[in-house]
Subunit: 260 residues, 2 copies
């Protein structure tokens, strides 16, 4: 099987702060990517990059430093560029989710690049025009400029989500539960037991039930108890009833005046 | 129209690096959020936080610094905690997309908290047990620990995506409920009360707790108790304890031979 993650490269253009390069490297590796291209970084190598990369220094070590965007894009069959602003000539525009899906799809066939611009002014028009698609991260209109490493994180995250949807043949679902659900007949017995225990402790009156049992049935019904949970709850009821029983016996043994 | 973004708080627990607090503040504001709670940050206020926050210093200025997680969760009707690890007892688990949808849905009705743990070891089991849901950011199994600000970025991004889908009329709302959800602080008191009652009836031993309370926290945590249900459950506990008290008094009044 093709290693699709190896075919997806993240390209950072003219980065000013080395901390962002390290943060981006970490974001890549966290999301399963590892191919990082640096186009004429302002200050690199740098300690701050290593520090922010944490356990992703291998991504930094293998980063390809080049002079021009064209060199970084060599061999790619699909190029996507991030863009915060509306451009005069609108380009085919994807949101991050669509970007992740497209990147993952096409990495089956060829190398793919996701390109990120400078911290202060993004990609130039010329650079954006080298891209097949533009990607816009939807942001607060009053403050739309994401930190560079944060933008890399979002796009790499969406690539990973697309990869998971692909491997499961569907959207990533919730995790498995550790135990099977309680069976309906056992839950029904639990409700009988619960009602009796509530009668025993004087909380519930079958002649004047109000909504108590209805509300408790709704509560435990929607919880989808598992087998172990049901067993714990039954154990609690039994302990409550043992106490009621002992209290009743103790009262019988007492002289009338002292009972209560 | 309600300002749903104002109802969504991001809670950072015991953060070590102030840079991450600044990065988180920026991620919030970029995605349209603004309510930041800091539980016992190691080093704060700090220049590094201000620097990383860039134009989101207003979020830092308005951040609420508290001593305990319970204080940060006060008033919340839904609490989600980020978790990197598999726990022995799995909690209801959401991926970031499901988290964004749920947060956005429920912010119509009540305050919501997304909780993030320490850089090195996340949230403790005790903290995670205060959450209705756990959120797992799918990551490279070989390097799954995201930078804190990056994790905040991903979850806030998904909240924004959900808000956009909603404004386009794509995201169906949840079924109506008849009562508001119990507040986090009241649920915390319920668990204290429950544990004490289980001790009183001899079902639970604080010295040898096994998994009882953990399983019960998970059970009542995922049920999303409403106010009335919580009130019924508190009433049941009080009735149980009254009985324990009466049993203890009856035993004292009995001659020794007959007291069990």
């Amino acid at each position: 099987m093709t290693d699709k993650f190896a075919r997806i490269r993240v390209v950072l253009v003219n980065t000013t702060h080395p901390g962002n390069i390290g943060g981006a490297a970490r974001a890549l590796k966290n999301m399963g990517l590892r191919s990082l291209y640096l186009v004429a970084p302002k200050q690199y190598p740098a300690d701050r990059a290593v520090w922010r990369a944490a356990n992703a220094v291998d991504v930094l070590d293998n980063a390809v430093v080049v002079d021009s965007l064209d060199q970084a894009l060599a061999g790619c069959g699909l190029v996507l560029g991030t863009s915060a602003r509306d451009r005069r000539i609108p380009w085919p525009l994807l949101n991050p989710r669509e970007c992740g899906e497209k990147v993952w799809q096409e990495a089956t066939h060829h190398d793919v690049a996701m390109v990120f611009g400078r911290e202060d002014r993004g990609l130039t028009n010329e650079e954006l025009q080298k891209c097949n698609y533009h990607v816009h991260i939807p942001a607060n209109p009053e403050y739309s400029s994401l930190n560079l490493a944060a933008a890399v994180q979002v796009l790499c995250y969406e690539v990973r989500m697309a990869s998971l949807a692909d491997s499961e043949g569907q959207s990533p679902g919730p995790a498995q539960w550790d135990l099977p659900p309680a069976r309906a007949e056992d839950v029904a017995l639990y409700f009988e037991h619960l009602e009796q225990a509530l009668v025993d402790i004087g909380f519930h009156d079958r002649e004047n039930p109000r909504q108590t049992m209805t509300r408790l049935r709704r509560l435990y019904g929607r919880i989808r108890l598992d087998e172990m949970e049901l067993s714990i709850l039954r154990g609690v009821l039994t302990a409550i009833q043992n106490q009621s029983y002992r209290l009743a016996r103790a009262k019988e043994a007492l002289p009338p005046a002292k009972a209560e």
